[in-house]
């Protein structure tokens, strides 16, 4: 339970409403497997049947996009923070 995983609102139905959960693993893939063991179904929302990260899911290890760190093979270690977010379009407005 060494890595802090930040869960987006849309996936908190899997984590019983928890915003952040602990998980373990040496790589992102292992981390997601560990998450799925305790929160069944969450893996399918993050990883495609072909075993790649879902196109519209962004995952960051300590604020850096995992797609530039080896994707699912990105290394994670004790004390890291993993953030999961849906992809949104940028160049967007400031609202009132």
């Amino acid at each position: 339970m060494s890595v802090d995983v930040r869960i987006p609102t849309i996936l908190r139905s899997y984590t019983g409403g928890e915003k952040s959960v602990g998980a373990s693993g040496d790589t992102l893939a292992e981390l997601i497997d560990d998450l799925d063991a305790r929160y069944p179904g969450i893996r399918g929302r993050l990883v495609t049947d072909e075993g790649a990260l879902h196109r519209f899911v962004n995952v960051y290890v300590n604020d850096e996009d995992v797609r530039f760190l080896g994707a699912l093979e990105a290394k994670v270690s004790d004390g890291d923070t993993v953030t999961i977010l849906p992809a949104v379009a940028g160049g967007a407005p400031i609202t009132r």
């Binding site: 609102t9 996936l11 196109r55 530039f68 849906p86 967007a92 400031i94």
Partner: protein, 320 residues
């Protein structure tokens, strides 16, 4: 400098050193310097003037945009304002699609330029504005949607202008950092610098908004701009609201530069790579893009009070 018209005054923006924000290095160590590309010095005050002008010119040359035509674009921000100026000067009608909760400064300015506004539901944010614009394009086949998220002329504006300006002014450039929105700036400058500079690093600073923004998003209905090619980037950082605010304030307090929030996010990522270079004992000239000034964001309240208050003021807002 003298120009024949406002459109001719697009680009050729200053690149200024930030000696006080650049990390200190030992006297015998290689220098690590930060440089800001001031895109707020464009005709309507943002980097988007380049994309707007290139998209319109390209459509004119292709014959898809003719005098008196209507331009349709999903934008409520800088691209809308830039297109409104270009449309006014070149004789087009402009229809902007934007979330209904966009700030009064934006709608007032767009309407002054003569642009028309069609609102999309606030809850869907910019993704919904894109979807609504696509629907309108189907309903009005005679309207011309330039579509900044997928228009190669957006990226090409930066390949042909911003990139060459940067390399001319900073031949020793090692890193280019910019905010990630349509991805046009990073794709265009990134491809140019990769063609010209060995081992250049192209770094994206992606805004990480408050939780409310993502709470509305369904992962299966996300959106990645058609222009985006991850192979152009070296790294991609997610910069939270608080870090972006902190850096935006530091730009003003330390270097006197009054910039918008996306510039703060870019500075945050620029400092990260600059400090890595210091630790590695490597020379680095890190150029980052100031996409706009802070004027349009003053009413958010995020420039005043504590950082916690600023973060609260921006909760639920797409600040870049």
């Amino acid at each position: 400098m003298r120009y024949e018209s406002l459109l001719d005054a697009c680009g050729e923006t200053p690149l200024v050193g930030l000696p006080r924000l650049s990390p200190p290095v030992a006297p015998d160590a290689p220098g690590v310097r930060l440089w800001a590309k001031l895109e707020d010095r464009n005709p309507t005050g943002s980097v988007k003037d380049r994309a707007a002008l290139w998209m319109v010119r390209t459509a004119e040359e292709a014959g898809t945009l003719r005098p008196g035509d209507t331009i349709l674009e999903p934008t409520s921000g800088n691209t809308g304002i830039a297109l409104a100026m270009v449309a006014k000067l070149r004789g087009y009608r402009l229809v902007c699609v934007m979330p209904e909760n966009v700030s009064a400064e934006r709608t007032t300015l767009l309407r002054m330029y003569g642009a028309e506004i069609i609102f999309s539901p606030a809850a869907g944010g910019s993704n919904q504005a894109v979807a609504t614009a696509r629907q309108l394009a189907v309903e009005h086949p005679d309207w011309v949607m330039l579509f900044q998220y997928g228009n190669e002329a957006n990226a090409r504006a930066h390949y042909e202008t911003t990139g060459p300006e940067l390399l001319r002014d900073l031949p020793t450039i090692t890193h280019f950092v910019a905010g990630l929105g349509t991805t046009g700036t990073l794709m265009g400058v990134g491809r140019y610098l990769r063609d010209k500079v060995d081992d250049i690093e192209i770094v994206a600073a992606e805004p990480r908004y408050g939780e409310l923004v993502y709470g509305l998003r369904n992962i299966d209905e996300g959106y990645v701009p058609e222009l985006y090619d991850p192979d152009v980037l070296t790294r991609r950082f997610s910069v939270g609201t608080r870090d972006a605010m902190l850096r935006t304030r530091q730009l003003l307090e330390v270097e006197g530069l009054f910039a918008g929030f996306s510039s703060g996010a870019a500075l945050h990522a620029a400092l990260a790579v600059a400090h890595e270079a210091v630790r590695a004992g490597r020379q680095a000239d890190v150029a980052f893009l100031v996409a706009d000034g802070g004027w349009k964001y003053l009413s958010t309240g995020a420039y005043a009070g504590t950082l916690a208050e600023a973060e609260e003021a921006l909760e639920g807002q797409l600040w870049a």
